[in-house]
Amino acid sequence: MSDNIPATSTVATAASTAAGAAFALRRDSFGLLVYAGADGVEHTGVVPVRAFPISAPADGVALINAEGHELLWIEQLAALPVELCALINEELANRELIPEIRSVRSVSSFATPSVWRIATDRGETEIVLRSEDDIRRLASPALLIADAHGLHFLIRDRYALDAHSRKLLDRFL
């Protein structure tokens, strides 16, 4: 999907591919990111946001200022200098949580609402599935499951789950 997006504004591309990076980032004592662009103006509370957090997490990150305006478009994080990249990755890791479901241990019932005991890449937890409609089919074989509190859980490949999980999951699809 992301492949056929027309080239974004040339200014942004230039900024991110320039060797020395035409901007500076640092973290202040309140834990906020401070961005200084080519014009030298500092913006406090800058937030990196992925454009395609699920389908293409690696490319397309925007830096958004506290007012919600885009300051910088980064085509590819990996193209940035290491320390900048690390800072952005750290902030991203701080903010985003789409745990990947590794297996479904048990479900309280096959009728919703149902409490699922699941193992994710971030540890075991319990989620409440309010209705079958909260299971969203992404491009096959991926599924996105929204729990009752608005957290989203990803299943990258539902056929790759173990047999037990698949059997439980199948009852809801």
Binding site: G31, E96, D133, G150, L151, L173
Partner: protein, 816 residues
């Protein structure tokens, strides 16, 4: 509970954490210097904490909290806690934050000891959330001291902890205790309950217990009113089944006393033959008439049950909030109410009836067979448990299969419901092939699921038939042996075979009940899913009557709203006086429409409260309140019907004169008269095509007719061209006069009549005041205004128009 609808003056103080010189708290604040406070106040503090702290510590941390409270010295008391379920790297690891009257302590699951921060001036505790993850952050003047993460299940608790933190800090600084919290708490989740609210809306939202698997029995609720007819039907069924069992019984004497003696050379007893044949005929006639009466009565009842079910579901659907409709697909809901209820109806009238007859027949046959010859009966009935087991095994598999089919079927319908209304877009972008592919895909999934079910199903029926054949074989073999031993007569054997013929065919049809029951149960479950859904805008059990006369003062207090995991509004405070016109301004997505939806109570606030004439919105009856709201939307929706019907939608008993007066005031009268059928013209889907401006004026007339105290204009003029807008403006001015009005508009020029403008930005109010003041302030509004004026000028320049000649300009390009 009966409570005073007026806000308690203390409540606001509590929320803002300001100290409250409370004479009723049992402490005399003035005589307690901060340093001496602990020892003297320890007992009072403990009482206070008992009243204000959450009821029970989280199970996984109870031991640590107990240990902590044992180790506290000098009357230090625990006032609250928050169980955090995420660690710094956002893994699911439990942690706890504890607040005492002088410290904040925290501990993760692997930590050896508590981390702590004494409560000192300048310390701030704040929370924010993003994409379902909440952060609780502790700051001092200079830096971030600590940050904890939690999923939003803990958000309410975090809010309470922050509030309590503010109260404790204030108490420490001033030396006097803030007034105790007065509102009742929900026993389950400790959410504040409002006056008149008995059940906690938060807990109601997520009923964790799933509906029982015996869903079909819940249909009794709908069958109950017809129990008399049902009983009559059942008795008829009993009698008719008994009647059908007479003929095989009569074959016994027919064989033993007529045919076999004849074969052995005895003459036929004509009288006996007449008697037996007459008996057979009478039994058939009785069975026929009873069967007819039973089927008729029960079909009548089941049809009524189905109709009640449908209406009740639809009725319930109407009470659900917009949130529910936002999350459901139209096609799915239509299937549930339409075909599922029909399926249940067919099940009740046809399949369940057959099944009950079969069960009765089997029970009666078994009784008769045993009374004739217990041994032969035993052999005949032997395959029965096996068949029952088979049915049981297959039942489970089939049920989920059928549920799946239902869901997939709803998906197919949803594709239709998605594309047919959007057919213009589909055609405009030439995506017909894609839509067909989407439909085919949904259909293919339907096929795949069906194939899987059919695999089990196709094996099941022949297997039951095979059982039947084998059963017959056994009876023949055993019967012949018994006859040869002179244990039974040929007549008995032939009677048995006649019974078995019926018996096993019934078993075969009985096995069919499995699939239809499961289908009906799945359908019932999906209907009860709708029925069990509690509105997230619950109607209060003891509504406070609307204040009379109703003025229309609106006060929004610290309102926050979250949609899913997106925080849309936060800490919004706004007072709107009766008769005032407020313009809501801001970028799209700034929360304008959400605020309006909250004021209409289409959604309930996540935090804070909205009061109408001093009464909390949630304690008013929804319908009573909405009757006083006039709503004009960007896309006016006209129902299929006449124009008069559409205008009178909010007040169906309006007289023709009233309708015309409303239409006149809305500047709609003239164009309506120009239509061929005037006020009787049909509009809406399949009706007369009206232009955007015309539809809008009809919806203005609709709002005018109910004479609402509160008027909401949500982008009422956005979808029409400037010329039409001017016409509508005239209509709107009639509407606005004397009413509390909240208007949202993109074009700032349309808000020039507003008494006050409120500028929203990303869920917060950033500016408030009359147009001129805001322009003079050169803030957010000024920037918006400037951007728009500049844009307008540019457009005019680009189009090459001369501004002075706007009165006789050519067709504007925007009209296309």
């Amino acid at each position: 509970m009966k409570t005073d609808p007026q806000p308690t003056p203390a409540a606001d103080d509590v929320l803002s954490g300001r100290p409250h010189a409370a004479a009723d708290s049992g402490l005399n604040p003035d005589s307690l210097p901060a340093s001496a406070a602990p020892r003297i106040a320890a007992e009072a503090l403990a009482t206070l904490a008992a009243a204000e702290a959450p009821s029970a510590p989280p199970a996984s941390w109870a031991r640590d909290i107990n240990a902590l409270s044992q180790s506290l010295r000098d009357g230090e008391t625990i006032f609250g806690w928050l169980e955090t379920d995420l660690d710094a790297s956002l893994c699911f690891v439990s942690g706890i934050v504890v607040l005492t009257d002088r410290r904040l302590l925290a501990r993760g699951i692997g930590d050896a000891d508590w981390q702590q921060w004494p409560l000192v001036a300048g310390l701030r505790l704040a929370r924010r959330d993003h994409a379902g993850v909440g952060s609780l952050e502790l700051f001092d003047d200079k830096a971030l001291l600590a940050r904890w993460r939690y999923t939003l299940s803990g958000d309410t608790a975090a809010g309470r902890l922050i509030e309590q933190f503010g109260r404790r800090l204030a108490a420490l600084q001033s030396g006097c205790q803030p007034a105790p919290q007065e509102a009742a708490l929900c026993p389950l989740c400790d959410t504040l309950l409002l006056p008149g609210q008995d059940e906690c809306p938060n807990c109601n939202k997520e009923i964790l217990s799933p509906p029982s698997t015996w869903t079909l029995f819940r249909l009794w609720r709908f069958a109950h009113p017809y129990r008399g007819q049902l009983l009559a039907g059942f008795l008829l069924m009993l009698a008719s089944t008994a009647a059908t069992l007479v003929p095989p019984y009569l074959t016994m004497p027919l064989m033993d006393e007529v045919l076999i003696p004849f074969q052995n050379g005895a003459p036929i007893d004509t009288h006996k033959v007449y008697l037996l044949l007459g008996g057979l005929f009478a039994a058939a006639i009785v069975a026929w008439s009873l069967g007819w009466a039973k089927t008729y009565i029960l079909a009548l009842v089941s049809e009524r049950i189905g109709a009640d079910l449908r209406t009740t579901t639809y009725q319930h659907l109407q009470t659900l909030s917009l949130e529910y409709f936002g999350g459901k697909r139209t096609g799915d809901l239509i299937t549930r109410i339409g075909s599922e209820s029909d399926r249940i109806c067919v099940f009740l009238s046809l399949h369940l009836l057959d099944f009950a007859t079969d069960v009765l027949m089997i029970a009666m046959t078994a009784a008769i067979l045993i009374s004739i010859n217990p041994w032969l009966a035993l052999v005949t009935l032997a395959p029965l448990p096996f068949i029952a087991w088979l049915i049981h095994v297959v039942r489970d598999r089939l049920r989920y299969g059928f549920e799946q089919i239902d869901r997939v079927w709803a998906e197919v319908t949803s594709v239709l419901a998605d594309t047919i209304p959007g057919i213009r877009v589909v055609k405009a972008f030439a995506q017909e092939k894609r839509e067909v592919a989407r439909f085919r895909e949904a259909n293919a999934r339907n096929l795949a699921v069906n194939d899987r079910v059919n695999k089990i199903w196709s094996l099941f029926t022949p297997t039951v038939t095979l059982m039947t054949e084998i059963g017959l074989l056994i009876v023949w073999a055993f019967g012949i042996w018994q006859v040869s031993q002179d244990a039974i007569t040929v007549g008995v054997l032939s009677a048995f075979l006649a019974y078995i013929g019926r018996f096993y065919t019934r078993l075969d049809s009985m096995s069919r009940i499995v699939s239809v029951t499961q289908k009906a149960a799945a359908g019932a479950k999906r209907i009860f899913d709708v029925l069990d859904h509690v509105s997230s805008v619950p109607e209060t059990t003891n509504p406070v009557p609307l204040p009379q006369p109703f003025a229309g003062n609106i006060s929004v207090r610290k309102v926050g709203f979250r949609y899913g995991n997106r925080t849309v509004l936060r800490d919004v405070d706004l007072d709107i006086h009766a008769g005032e016109m407020i313009g809501l301004v801001g970028h799209s997505g700034s929360g304008k429409s959400t605020l309006v939806n909250l004021i209409c109570r289409f959604y309930d606030v996540s935090e804070g409260s909205i009061r109408i004439d001093g009464v909390d919105l949630r304690s008013l009856s929804v319908a009573d309140y909405r009757r006083n709201i006039g709503l004009v939307l960007q896309e006016p929706f006209l129902f299929f019907g006449t124009i008069a019907d559409n205008i009178a939608y909010g007040k169906p008993d309006a007289s023709r004169a009233e309708i015309i007066a409303a239409a006149r005031a809305a500047h709609a009268h003239e164009f309506i008269l120009r239509l061929p059928h005037g006020y009787d013209s049909l509009v809406g889907e399949r009706g007369q095509a009206l232009s955007g401006g015309e539809r809008q004026r009809i919806s203005i007339a609709r709002a005018l007719l109910i004479n609402p105290r509160i008027l909401i204009l949500d982008e009422a003029t956005s979808s029409v061209d400037t010329e039409t807008e001017l016409e509508i403006q005239g209509a709107l001015e009639n509407l606005i006069r004397g009413r509390t009005t909240i208007a949202i508009a993109h074009r700032l020029s349309t808000l020039r009549r507003a008494d006050r403008l409120v500028v929203l930005d990303r869920g917060r109010i950033v500016e408030e005041g009359p147009h001129d003041d805001l322009i003079a302030r050169e803030g957010a509004y000024f920037r918006l205004y400037e951007a728009q004026t500049k844009q307008l000028e540019e457009q005019i320049a680009e189009a090459g128009w001369v501004v002075a000649s706007t009165d006789r300009r050519t067709q504007p390009a925007a009209a296309a």
